[in-house]
Amino acid sequence: MQKSLHIDPGKCTGCLQCEMACSYEHTGVINPSKSRIKVFDFEHEGRKVPYTCTQCSEAWCMQSCPVDAIVLDPATGAKVVKEATCVGCKVCTISCPFGTINYMADVGKVQKCDLCGGDPECAKACPTGAITYIDASWTGLDRMRAWAAKANTAAAA
């Protein structure tokens, strides 16, 4: 089964455990500034929203890369940056409509979410279930269930 990250901002408390876990997994250092998932705090509205790559099927970043440095991981569906190939031209950062692929000035390459090879650390680190890793074909299942629960049927005896 292919899975995808699923984000429910209503459950996010803004603790940044996801950013720490992501950065540690990819760099070996606890360093939110290197995280591929970012939590945004709309402080005057009281909303916190985690945001990362949705792994588009027809990924703009992958299509636009002139050196084919972004490739599909068939096992996970992730679009993965091959660092050795990336030349740091940043065309992908321009083409991505969501801003989720970014240039790292210190290494001269781009980085984006790679789903940690199929076991995303951010989802494991999230204490509230705001970030989950679920069946890519049924990301609406919980919401459907919630609405289904409201159906006006007689309860079983």
């Binding site: 455990q17 720490m20 250092v29 606890i30 939110p32 500034s33 402080e43 509205e45 680190a125 204490p127």
Partner: protein, 615 residues
């Protein structure tokens, strides 16, 4: 060790920023944050120094778990000699600032001297420089934080700052970070203001790389997170209700100080409780509470984010206060509310927002207003002096006093002195509900005997987060003790005080201790830090830190006479509730406390105790 092994020394007089290696021998003896920062301070300043003089220093310190994945590992501590008390001041704060200091490569920043003009410190990793803050002087914490982010074109920078109250030397000024988190008590913001230091802005992109054994650390941190999740208080109560979960509980046990401690139960407690914050207002159909929020790394998320009723008299024509903002937490709901007999939730949040905006401690502010209201009711202070009629229960007076204290105008300047100086000025020092000049927090020592002893002996004056025996005496954590009993309380107080220093010095939040004991912190520290961090060593380090603080206070001129409570607590019996007829029996508990501490009957650590603790 998860230290950067590097501190930044900022000489404000000379305008220099100099890196220094962290003294690892001291780190090994005092752990970090509160303990290690206090070690540096006590080595570097004369205990008799005027707190607001250039000779005082101010230290911002992280702990070894700050900036790690340990739950709540985002805290930092401000250590200085406090202007409100003249005692050691040590105030810690959550938010995101502490972790950012660690990510920028520093463990600690020491500020010394006094800048000739207003400046702020900007740190971007190893780069550190003082920048002009003339344009920020005279403005609020919120304005300062927003302006610095805008000027740097960097929304990710983390800022700690003082508001106008810190500049005006309001003696209970805070240092506010991340808009509504504060190093809140003892007036640390006034020290910062006395140094012409407006703000500290940090940006760190280096991260924490020195965790000794990361797999072991992750295992310990995850196990400890599970303990928090499975615990009813940290797993359910605090996320849903925040610390405000306590309002009705403490009122029930008859220990909710009301009307300047005249009463111990507040008839309108329900109206200012956690439950009330969840209810929809009849006026606009919205609940006061919008959501809960976490500080850095926190898996509890007790923080409250609320929204005022736009039609409320306090904010009717002030849209700048209509957005979401931090509060109310239990302490401020009590100090602004029950302590003043005010049951108007919206007015409390408005006053709380002013405290955050201009950086002053809502506990001391609220308690000082309580003293003002009592003086008003006694006819000692008049409407003309105060500027408004100020009987207990007046939400209008509360809002007005918050405004003039924030702005530092009129009678607000007198409120800014705190209750001890204000009541003394009007000939009634007995009406200051304080110890060593620091006002009581939200638990009455008559209904909860042990907390009274903790207040009397706490190294920074009346403070609940130095030895929170309420956990045991009311909530049954880790074991239930009778709140009205005095037997066994000296030992209980000592145990809580010593354990608390470990939480504070590790860089985690004390609120974890509703579920964690030192035994849950220890494996995380042991995995993160080199050297021996056994339970035995933790016990010694905790007690060592407490005694080091005590020695500083003794050298500053405090004596056993200062380990006291106001006469109201020891001579005026509680009027209602389970503690009806009781006073705090400090006299029974204090000698035994000195004994279990290994101190002389005069409250001085014996040579044997000092030797045992390596002091």
């Amino acid at each position: 060790m998860s230290w950067n092994r590097k501190i930044l020394r900022v000489n404000l007089t000379a305008g220099t920023c100099t890196p220094e290696p962290l003294n690892m021998e001291w780190a090994n003896d005092y752990l970090g944050s509160r303990g290690l920062g206090t070690k540096y301070l006590t080595e570097e300043i004369d205990p008799k120094v005027d707190p607001l003089s250039p000779e005082n220093k101010m230290i911002m310190a992280t702990g070894p778990l700050t900036g790690t994945m340990a739950s709540t590992g985002g805290r930092y501590t401000v250590i200085t000699k406090g202007p409100l008390t003249g005692a050691i001041a040590c105030s810690n704060s959550g938010g995101f600032f502490g972790a950012e200091m660690k990510f920028a490569g520093w463990d600690m920043i020491i500020f010394e001297g006094k800048s000739p003009k207003p400046v702020y410190l900007y740190v971007e990793n190893e780069k550190a420089e003082l920048r002009d803050a003339a344009h920020l002087w005279g403005t609020t914490c919120w304005h300062t934080e927003e302006t610095i982010k805008a000027e740097l074109q960097d929304p990710l920078v983390r800022v700690s700052s003082i508001g106008r109250s810190g500049e005006n030397q309001v003696l209970f000024s805070c240092i506010v970070n991340d808009l509504h988190r504060a190093a809140g008590r003892s007036g640390v913001g006034a020290v910062m203001g006395s140094k012409n230091l407006k703000a500290v802005a940090l940006r760190g992109t280096q991260g924490v790389s020195g965790v000794k054994d990361f797999p072991a650390f992750l295992k310990a941190a995850n196990a400890a997170k599970q303990v928090l999740k499975d615990n009813a208080v940290t797993g359910q109560g605090l996320p849903k209700y925040g610390t405000q979960v306590l309002m009705n509980v403490i009122n029930e046990v008859g220990a909710l100080p009301t009307r300047n401690h005249r009463d111990v139960q507040f008839e309108e407690a329900g109206k200012i409780s956690a439950e009330a914050m969840h209810e929809k207002r009849p006026t606009d159909g919205k609940a006061h509470l919008i959501t809960n929020a976490a500080c850095f790394g926190c898996t509890i998320a007790c923080g409250r984010i609320s929204q005022l009723d736009k039609g409320h008299f306090t904010v009717q024509n002030k849209p700048e206060y209509w957005g979401a903002s931090g509060g109310l937490e239990y302490e401020s709901a009590w100090s602004l509310g029950a302590s003043n007999g005010v049951g108007d939730l919206e007015a409390l949040q408005y006053a709380n927002m002013l405290c955050n905006e201009d950086g002053f401690d809502p506990i001391t502010f609220g308690a000082t207003v309580s003293a003002v209201m009592e003086l008003y009711e006694l006819g000692i202070l008049t409407k003309e002096q105060i500027g408004i009629e100020a009987p207990f229960g007046s939400a209008k007076a509360l809002a007005y006093l918050a405004e003039i204290t924030a702005q530092g105008i009129g009678f607000g300047k007198e409120v800014g002195l705190g209750s001890k100086r204000l009541t003394a000025k009007y000939g009634r020092p007995d009406l200051s509900m304080s110890v060593k000049g620091l006002e009581f927090p939200a638990y009455d020592g008559r209904g909860i005997q042990g907390i009274g002893l903790n207040y009397a002996t706490s190294n920074r004056g009346a403070c609940h987060v130095r030895g929170y025996t309420v956990a045991s005496e009311v909530l049954g954590i880790p074991v239930k003790t009778d709140p009205l009993a005095t037997e066994g309380k000296p030992g209980l107080v000592k145990a809580f005080q010593d354990a608390t220093t470990i939480f504070d010095s590790a860089g985690v939040c004390l609120f974890t201790s509703f579920a964690w004991s030192v035994a849950d912190v220890q494996p995380q520290v042991q995995a993160a830090c080199e050297g021996d961090w056994s339970m035995e060593k933790m016990a010694i380090v905790g007690e060592r830190i407490w005694n080091m603080e005590r020695q500083f206070n003794l050298a500053a001129g405090f004596t056993a006479k200062d380990d006291n409570l106001p006469p109201r607590l020891t001579t005026e019996p509680a009027k209602t509730g389970p503690a009806k007829g009781r006073v705090n029996e400090l006299g029974k508990m204090l000698p035994e406390y000195y004994e279990v501490r290994g101190w002389t009957p005069e409250g001085v650590p014996t040579a044997e105790t000092l030797a045992r603790l390596g002091l």
